[in-house]
Symmetry: D2
Subunit: 346 residues, 4 copies
């Protein structure tokens, strides 16, 4: 897409637009594509998916080129950055290839499901790419971000406790669960990253897991309901609760409690309507159904932050190390759930 602009501002604006390609046109990839297509600082230069039909649909919808291969994208010197939204098992190879091609990278979480692969990836890309950012979208949710900023500004004094509620609207198919690396690596990993972003280093993990929703998940060796305790190096304690099913929608809440007060981020709804009838009052809508709706603003802000970093040369707020650390916590959580013992981390 060529941007035709008029008058004095023309050259300036054109130079600012950063050419970014999308790798992976599934549900989340397509959502990212729309964000990139609208962003005034970006130019969606190409989209690619292993399924040509998926790439063609996204390309057609947004009027951008569909690339023939990931290699073609990475070989294009006009493309400065890639957004990797392909399935998790492809992440490491794409990260390494993109880094070798000198592209900046925004990669959906997780890097990989096992630490060995993550460490190998880390070594392979050392020094190769100027910018790598992990897609922990929730850090960019305006409400969660406001809680963190206000707490860090001292509004509630020393932070003593954090409670994170994170419940999916419905369980994944049992075969997804099997391939996902387990609930701690697939779902809680977001909450581990949130805990780290709020509290810094985590030094102790304790968990309990249960299979209460879908026996097939249990049969696959996974849990569908988990509770976590964390201790931060700061001394603060944190609790995470996860469920694979929430009848009232995607339950995403956060509570920070400190010496001087408490900050809470509540759920979001499509409207502000409240209904009163003979049986109940102040009834609100169900909460927004799932991540695409719930974190629409967060995804847009995340991509905006990546573009800002590319324009300014700044380091993204969430990097490769954050992906490593979240996975370490997921591994520890899994171990604690299996052994019933607290796992201490460096």
């Amino acid at each position: 897409m060529t941007v035709r602009v008029f008058g004095i501002a023309e050259g300036v604006r054109e130079m600012e637009r950063i050419a970014i390609a999308l790798l992976g046109c599934g549900r989340i990839g397509r959502m990212h594509a729309r964000v990139l297509a609208r962003h005034p600082g970006a130019r969606l230069a190409a989209v690619y998916d292993v399924l040509p039909k998926a790439a063609a649909e996204t390309a057609g919808e947004l009027g951008v080129p569909a690339a023939a291969s990931a290699e073609a994208v990475l070989a294009d010197p006009g493309i400065r950055a890639v957004l990797i939204a392909s399935p998790t098992p492809t992440h490491v190879d794409l990260i390494v290839a993109a880094a070798r091609a000198g592209k900046a990278i925004l990669c959906e979480k997780p890097i990989a499901l096992d630490m060995e692969r993550v460490r190998a990836c880390e070594q392979a890309i050392a020094g190769l790419t100027p910018t790598i950012m992990l897609g922990f979208n929730r850090r960019f949710d305006p409400s969660f971000a406001a809680v963190r900023q206000r707490a860090q500004a001292g509004e509630i004094g020393r932070v003593e406790q954090v409670v994170i509620t994170s419940r999916d609207p419905e369980p994944p198919p049992a075969d997804y669960a099997a391939a996902s690396g387990g609930i701690f690596r697939d779902m809680t990993i977001h909450d581990f990253d949130m805990a780290r972003s709020l509290l810094g280093d985590i030094v102790e993990v304790q968990t309990m897991g249960a299979c209460l929703i879908d026996p097939a998940i249990g049969a696959a060796g996974d849990y569908d309901s988990v509770m976590v305790l964390l201790r931060a190096r700061s001394g603060a304690l944190a609790h995470i609760n996860n469920s694979r099913r929430s009848a009232y929608g995607y339950d995403q809440r956060l509570e920070m409690f400190g010496a001087k007060g408490m900050l809470v981020a509540e759920n979001r709804r499509a409207t502000t309507v409240r209904a009163a009838t003979a049986s109940a009052t102040e009834c609100a809508d169900p909460v927004l159904h799932f991540f695409i709706e719930r974190y629409a603003e967060a995804y847009a802000t995340e991509v905006g932050h990546f573009i800002d970093c590319l324009q300014s040369g700044a380091t993204p707020a969430v990097g490769f190390t954050d992906g490593v650390e979240a996975l370490r916590l997921a591994d520890a959580a899994e171990e604690s759930a299996r052994t019933g013992k607290a796992v201490r981390l460096g």
Copy 2:
């Protein structure tokens, strides 16, 4: 801006995009321009403002042509519709000219500040334009729309009372107030339209006005604080309260009360954060500051509805007559405030 698309879908999508020009690049015009530029069914074909600088800025920001005159826009056979966002005194002339040019029209409210001009406009355009829509943006607010739809679906039984709260964050400059036609025609007119959309025909109006905020407004013969009672033909009663200043932001609420319950649309905020300290708990953000933020979704939905109507040939949900009727109510409100008597309408 030419949309370059790829593959099979190319021709199809291009044909769907409706060429729309913007007349008036002030604050609200620029906001509309951004909405049009993003809408997949529209093509912002040109922007015009009596101040060339304003037009150039909007054109430059969005990469669209700035037109040399309104006449040039209306003479362009490639342009199917105009969005009129210029100052109120220009609305009638632009509506008439656009209608004569066979353009579809989306015009910001109000049509004009006096009924004679509105009636003259109505006659001048009779039969000329296929589609004319008035910009009563609040009808398209998702929360207000949900309240109306749920009430009309019978959720609260027969509607008996409506309470509309509508308070601006800060008073306009005194000279604006003087030129605005007075608070009833400038501000309450939105609430009159809302009352009509919720209750149908209004048959009686009673008002009280006061100047409590800025003596200059009173000196200009206007009020800055008003309260209204309405009686609908259905029998239902409605109350509107307006203030030109609200310390906590743009207060926009709606309550519908009926035989079986109540539906309320609450204010909107930037985040869902709630803070607790030693002095207070559950403290939320101030409400969104003013119409651009508060009604961002409504403006986008409004423009989307206009485009949908153009694509499908449907009649817009809010037309010229709605502009006439809201002004009739504003005139009656002014009369009641001056005389202390209820004004009955056909």
Copy 3:
């Protein structure tokens, strides 16, 4: 009931208890009797009702004497005060008789349904009783009182608007409506008193009435749904809305809006429970059903204030004049509803 106390404090406490008799053992009288029986500063000295059975039941429940007649109560020199909770038509005679007997008086509202009788009562008791208090219970509601006190302390700056919502859970029998003096004198009178307590003198009244709920109420010449506008001498505007039926319970809310912010008193519920299901979230209980439950604390505080005044010699916060003024507003409201004209008061 003799209070047997022990130790040093004995004599002191006994002398503090003020002997009060209850006249009228209906629903509200019995509620007052229970409050008096529990109050450490009062002694419920006798109860009387024109129906001996009603008096006997209340006497039996609380272990107090049932008096044979109102005259016997007033002739008892041991009784210092009477609480009049008998039907409205008896109020004036009992007030006059009690005042002549030198008793302090706490009388349920209203004094009477017509101004002539009220003025006659006023003259008849001039100078006779040290203390007369009217039972405008809502002034003593902790939430409404907090709003008033905080507004008067300047928290929201100059008060510009007040909105009072007051809806009964269910309409009275049609014959009650007929004898009640009409909705303005029977129901809105509470809201008129509230408006006066919040804003001081009211100088202008405008109303609209409708019969939307029970045709029998309309046939009796009354309204079941009314909306009111008031202008205070301070310049502030106020709105009252009333309905004789509210599906979700006794809707009692208050909003004060000023130059620096807003104070709102919300409804009360039996529990703080919020429920979330697939169809709705944050669903609260219906609001407390009616005045006995909703204003339980207010009634107790009201009686406590009366006792405090008797002990300290202070003048009650709500006196005979307040009853007169509320009735004047009700009369003006009725006139405005009939004529469609604003009624201006002194």
Copy 4:
């Protein structure tokens, strides 16, 4: 206090009143005394405290006899029940003595701070007393009780998760902490009982403790901030968080999450007032300060339940075993906090 009643109902009512003596006139004892003095089914027959002044004050306030010794109370054949509100170390001796005297017993929690003493007490009173009830007041909170009843009625389907928030307004003196048996036995014990009442038997306990508020508490070997995970025999998971200090008041919340939805009991406040200013909106009061205010209704209902059981012969909803089980959980919690291992219970 002899109740003098009149008329037919006299004898009946007198017989219904159950003579109860209070042992312990500290803060919580005096609160119970007031509840007993007001209850229509009870007669506060005597009060005793090891400090004669404390007993005299309560006796004087309520007009009841102050007993010379606990032995005198227990020897009085007219007294049917005792309410034990003396310091924890005296509970076992008083329970045993009262049981031997054949009195019914309502004892404040905990029975004792170590399990050996509790077991000895259990054996000593086996078969001796018809009725023994433990003072887990929170079970009688109307909101918590409603959540439990609605969940048990199936409103949210199978219960999968429980989250209990319980934070005191301010830490106790360090010497209190030392003598209290530690936070798990002194404070969390209430939440353990709540978890049991909601979920039934608990089979696994994991905890983390920290000292974040008062170093003196840490120096005394205790924690001031704890987080707990529980697994119920039903499979459900539960989380408890405790803090010895909450800037915004006594934070007491409960969340039950199940297959079909969620039930939450929110905090309570003195008024329903919400304030909006330029910096924040919907600001509510701080939550009620501490247990006397927060659980006023719960304490009254608890005593009422005890009296109902005495009148009807029913077994109290919370008995000696509940005290034993809550202490077992506290012991397990302490062990887990010290060892970092999950503790499994029968």
